[in-house]
Amino acid sequence: WKTKQEMADEALFLLLHNEMVSGVYKSAEQGEVENGRCITKLENMGFRVGQGLIERFTKDTARFKDELDIMKFICKDFWTTVFKKQIDNLRTNHQGIYVLQDNKFRLLTQMSAGKQYLEHASKYLAFTCGLIRGGLSNLGIKSIVTAEVSSMPACKFQVMIQKL
């Protein structure tokens, strides 16, 4: 059961995100699509948004205990606030690599239920990769975040913590 406001909020972010991807690709200069510059632009946007969001979301939370505490926060509270659901599965090798699995990623559910449009998926995941990286960065964690999809709308985000 969703209120009109909730439905509007979800649609707003989803539609705005789609337009953002579209906008970046439409305004791409010579070679920027092929050399990955468009993906980088989207990822950087996500990064700044992630920094700001994390500041807001952790304003009233207790101090984090450790890295795992932070990753759990990203998977539960953060993911729920942004995507209205939690990450379905979190795995880690306890050596700085985390895999976040979302079986029904909100930004892909309207796109396809399988392999259709698979070749475009990375464009629609870049912003979210940046979101995670920006959020972690503002909590003092440097990382590299990548995403992979084999069948929509399920996808995996891989976080590699960079030890300084």
Binding site: R56, T58, K59, T61, A62, R63, F64, D66, L139, G140
Partner: protein, 141 residues
């Protein structure tokens, strides 16, 4: 009003410093600087917690010196707030200091949402931040 506040980045450089007109600004900078060591000590995960480690508010930083009381607060993003008040201001209670820090924190998160603010830069927001600090310092009289 005799209160001064400072906001410091994760790497301990100042994002914002505002000392009250009657305060010696250089002296305040020095106090903030020495407070940082205490702040770092209090939040370091060493098992022997000097404060409840889950709290963002750190309380009193170290014994009063020169009639100045220093309070600290660290956000989850490791941004530090330091406030120095006159010890003659006996009317100020712990929960009032806490609420001032909450206001600082709230305004800081607003600054983060300003498109003209680049994280890590000095805070130059007049409306959200500066005026909030002014009204806060007026309260502490």
């Amino acid at each position: 009003s005799r209160a001064s506040s400072a906001v410091l980045a994760r790497d301990n450089y100042p994002l914002y410093i505002r000392s009250s007109p009657t305060e010696n600004e250089l002296k305040f900078h020095y106090m903030v600087h020495t407070s940082l060591d205490v702040v770092d000590e209090k939040i370091s995960a060493m098992g022997k917690a000097l404060v409840d480690q889950r709290e963002l508010y750190l309380g009193l930083l170290y014994p009063t010196e020169d009639h100045k009381i220093k309070y600290g607060y660290v956000t989850n993003s490791k941004v530090k707030f330091v406030m120095v008040v006159d010890s003659s201001n006996t009317a100020l209670r712990d929960n009032e200091i806490r609420s001032m820090f909450r206001k600082l924190h709230s305004s800081y998160t607003d600054v983060m949402c300003n498109p003209f603010y680049n994280p890590g830069d000095r805070i130059q927001s007049r409306r959200a931040f500066d005026s909030m600090v002014t009204s806060m310092m007026v309260q502490v009289c």
